[in-house]
């Protein structure tokens, strides 16, 4: 059976480093969003959060 998957384009070192940096920033942004949602929820619910835990 032949492999029809497209071959990824060749990246030079600089492009690969830039891609890694972008991925890292995306991961950090995602973590920041999750933290913000948690903080918002805790502040809005106030004292009710610890009581439920």
């Amino acid at each position: 059976m032949s492999d029809d998957r497209p071959t990824p384009p060749d990246l030079d070192d600089e492009a690969r480093k830039a891609q890694k940096r972008r991925n890292l920033w995306l991961a950090l942004a995602l973590v920041a969003f999750v933290v913000l949602v948690i903080v918002t929820t805790m502040v809005r619910l106030g004292g009710g959060v610890p009581e439920r835990m």
Binding site: A18, T40, V43
Partner: protein, 322 residues
């Protein structure tokens, strides 16, 4: 140029994108003014209505406004990549310079739009989130895709997009909007035409090359200078109007009257010049450039006065008015 042409454009990727490119995609200068005016609305609303918002929630609401502004900027750059690559002033932006692929800019704009509206809703209320969504759609779709390439009134009608932030800030605190909030909206709305037209007097050849029907391109420089003066004559007293509703105190009154008079003087200087005409004197172009620069200072100081009065205890009611 049709919208199909604009969205089909493919630009070659010539260099890897850096973090700076993605920041540029969000139009950071516009973002700063947007955040500042939203903050003024947020601070003034608490002081005027007596309703307070948790400082953490206020911070997240402000962040949501910043993200929303960045999202609209990214969508605008995605759509306008074709004309940006034609104009010298915008040819170094991340997409035309080949650093960021267009589809990546669109994805970033759409995701950030959703995140910003969701954060605003979580941190404040549905009205503020709805107004933020409306302002993103107004700039990213209504102004960028419908108005900009079709009518010389593009920046007049489109100016509403930049006028929403203080209303959003106000709504984030109170869950409603009042006359004071819409007064701040009106000030930014009527400030936008003289601000942008001063710039377009300097760059009208570029707009013409790109096929954007800015007023100097379609109606000539003289008509643009007339319009700049007409809008400034309306803006100067409008800028002082918050004093009569009690929103502005003594500091705001002094700042708005002095800056309004200066704005009028500079607009009149441009009106009397040949700025934007073929073979215009360098001194005339300097006057248009001066007006453009001052217009930014005007808006910044007007809203700084509000923040100083309502956020730092500098408010003293104007005798006989409040």
């Amino acid at each position: 140029m049709s919208s199909t042409d604009a969205s089909d454009l493919q630009l070659p990727r010539t260099r890897p994108a850096t973090a700076v490119d993605y920041v540029q995609l969000m139009k950071p200068r516009i973002m700063m003014l947007v955040v500042f005016t939203a903050l003024a609305g947020l601070v003034a609303a608490q002081s005027v209505t007596g309703v307070s918002i948790n400082p953490v929630m206020a911070g997240i609401a402000t962040l949501a406004v910043a993200l929303g502004s960045g999202a609209a900027g990214a969508i605008n750059m995605w759509y306008d990549a074709d004309i940006d690559s034609v104009m010298k002033r915008t040819s170094t932006r991340p997409i035309p310079s080949g650093a960021v692929p267009r589809d990546e800019a669109l994805a970033m704009g759409l995701i950030m739009s959703g995140v910003s509206v969701l954060l605003m809703w979580l941190a404040s209320n549905a009205l503020a989130a709805g107004l933020l969504a409306l302002s993103i759609a107004y700039y990213g779709w209504f102004y960028t895709m419908l108005l900009k390439r079709r009518t010389p009134q593009n920046i007049v009608v489109g100016g509403a997009a930049g006028a929403f932030p203080p209303v959003i800030g106000w709504a984030a605190v109170t869950g409603s909007t009042t006359l004071d909030a819409w007064l701040l909206f009106a000030i930014i709305f009527f400030w936008t035409p003289p601000h942008f037209w001063a710039l377009s007097l300097l760059a009208h050849k570029e707009y013409e090359k790109a096929g954007v029907p800015m007023l100097p391109v379609t109606h000539g420089a003289a008509a643009t200078r007339n319009q700049i003066l007409a809008y400034t004559i309306f803006l100067a007293p409008l800028g002082a109007l918050p004093v009569f509703t009690g929103l502005g105190g003594v500091v705001y009154a002094v700042v708005s009257v002095i800056l309004g008079a200066a704005f009028l003087y500079l607009a009149a200087r441009v009106w009397r010049s040949d700025a934007g005409d073929a073979g215009a004197a360098p001194a005339s172009l300097k006057k248009a450039k001066g007006l453009f620069g001052f217009s930014i200072l005007y808006l910044f100081l007007l809203f700084a006065a509000l923040i100083a009065e309502h956020g730092f205890g500098a408010y003293i009611a104007v005798p006989g008015l409040a």
